[in-house]
């Protein structure tokens, strides 16, 4: 790893950063999809009628069981079999988003169940419907409780976006490998650079979540147990 190789990787940093922006776009897409579906399935699993509860746990089991790389390839290659090709990016958002939704559902389920049962009873006693109680009383509390677990999921899926390389998404790992393919001695410096970029991103993301957690904390409430 001579200095000249590091300098060449440094010169290609704009290309790597451009790749990283694709990872961030992927992250935004898959976290949003996972968040929306995750809440739906968490609520179904905790408060839904029995058949839906069963369906929700089946869903979580399914998408937590299939290896991600396999899920990615299935979503990518599957639809085109029926004449509906989708791009690698779309496939990655859907596959990784569905997978993330299964994990996020479990995070929110745990948080919902951590809210004392009396809260639901009290909300119902005040005349709220079950759905209103979930929306206005239980979910806001559950969100606060789920932040730590959610930060964990964020850190995991951020790195998962590099898997999209396998379905032809031109993201940061693609560019790192390209540098190595063009000039093999650059391989290791390029990989180390990408690792450093992810260290920075994870730090920034988790710090932000830490700030949110602090802002949302209600002194005395969480410590009551």
């Amino acid at each position: 790893m001579a200095l000249e190789h590091w300098l060449k990787v440094w010169a290609s940093l704009p290309v790597l950063l451009q790749g990283l922006s694709v990872n961030l776009a992927l992250l935004g897409g898959l976290l949003s999809l996972g968040f929306v579906l995750g809440i739906v399935f968490a609520v179904l699993e905790v408060y839904g009628p029995r058949p839906l509860r069963f369906f929700a746990s089946l869903y979580s089991w399914l998408f937590r069981s299939i290896p991600e790389i396999l899920l990615l390839l299935l979503v990518w290659l599957g639809p085109s079999r029926f004449g509906k090709p989708i791009t690698g990016f779309t496939a990655a958002v859907i596959a990784l988003g569905l997978r993330s939704s299964a994990y996020q559902a479990q995070i929110f389920r745990g948080a919902l169940q951590a809210v004392p049962a009396g809260q639901m009873l009290a909300a119902r006693a005040l005349g709220l419907s079950k759905l209103q109680a979930v929306r206005h009383v239980l979910l806001p509390q559950a969100f606060r409780l789920s932040l730590a677990g959610w930060g964990n999921e964020f850190a995991v899926v951020l790195k998962d976006t590099t898997l999209a390389y396998a379905v032809g998404v031109v993201e940061v790992m693609f560019h790192a490998r390209s540098l190595g393919a063009r000039e093999m001695p650059l391989t290791l410096p390029a990989y180390i650079t990408v690792a450093l970029l992810f260290l920075g991103l994870t730090y920034a993301g988790l710090s932000l979540l830490g700030v949110v957690e602090k802002k949302l904390r209600i002194p005395g409430l969480e410590a009551r147990r």
Binding site: S12, G29, S32, L33, F89, T90, G168, A181, R182, P185
Partner: protein, 284 residues
């Protein structure tokens, strides 16, 4: 919340927009000089330029998609992409699942070893030796068919990309790497004094462009016609002289200087002439 989920799903599904007369070309863009990503992030290489030139000559658009080598044929079969252009050797096994163009290149396999290993082509491929190759390549198939199947118990170690195999060879975990001639020579050039060509295996492999079985979109006749025109006009020879045996930085600089002739002025013949002349000029 639920409405937002529906909106997200709808947006995602709408992204699969299609233009008319546009073919998607899949390539593992990590195999210079046939295809690689330049320092500035452009896709270039012999295969890709041939695809671009034929597209201009035959009046269709192409979009080049980067795909891992062993995913290209599955993607062509699935209809995900239309053309595979990635230095594919025409083999009977592959010809059962896809259709090939006529051969456009002939290559042999090369065996690389570490310069200080003292191995030659015989000792590097003896029983017990670890031989590296890229997954899904004919180099890997050659080791399986001509060594392992014949009872020569070498250990075949497979890698996702060719550079990874070379890294492992340099790290001392394997004894040799088998790969096509041009990329092997490229690797030796990049590690002067560290890698050595142990020998050439005369496999006389022919490369072809590939499309889905039965060629449902009728692409092959157009590729054939395009290759014919390139050969008749001398553009083919110019392209060969530009891409083979030259340092990648030189080719990249020449490509950057000339590519607008192809993409803007849409003149493949003049583009190839420009590329060859510029490479010559820059080498001096």
């Amino acid at each position: 919340m639920r409405n937002m989920g529906v909106a997200v799903a709808v947006v995602l599904l709408c992204w699969a927009g299609l233009a008319a007369e546009k073919f998607i070309v899949g390539s593992d863009i990590a195999w210079p000089p046939f295809e690689w990503v330049s320092a500035k992030g452009d896709y270039l290489g012999f295969d890709l330029d041939v695809m671009r030139m034929i597209a201009v000559l035959e009046g269709y658009e192409i979009e080049i998609q980067a795909i891992a080598f062993d995913s290209i044929i599955p993607a062509v079969i699935a209809g995900q992409i239309d053309i595979g252009a990635s230095g594919f050797t025409i083999t009977a096994e592959r010809a059962q699942v896809v259709d090939f163009s006529s051969p456009y290149w002939v290559s042999d396999q090369m065996v690389l070893v570490r310069a200080d290993s003292g191995l030659n082509i015989i000792t590097a491929l003896m029983p017990g030796k670890k031989v590296g190759a890229q997954r899904g390549t004919t180099g890997a198939f050659w080791v399986e068919d001509n060594l392992i199947a014949q009872g020569v118990a070498v250990e075949l170690v497979l890698y996702e990309t060719y550079p990874e195999a070379i890294m492992d060879l340099l790290a001392g975990r394997i004894h040799a790497v088998i790969q096509d001639q041009a990329p092997s020579e490229q690797a030796v050039r990049q590690y002067p004094g560290q890698l050595l060509i142990a020998g050439i295996i005369k496999t006389y492999e022919e490369f072809g462009f590939l499309v889905a079985k039965g060629d449902p979109k009728k692409i092959l006749p157009r590729i054939e016609r395009g290759m014919q025109k390139l050969r008749e006009t001398g553009a083919w020879d110019n392209l060969v002289s530009a891409y083979f045996g030259n340092p990648l930085e030189v080719i990249e600089a020449a490509w950057e200087a000339c590519i607008s002739i192809l993409t803007v002025e849409r003149d493949p013949v003049r583009y190839a002439a420009c590329l060859a002349a510029k490479v010559q000029e820059l080498r001096k």
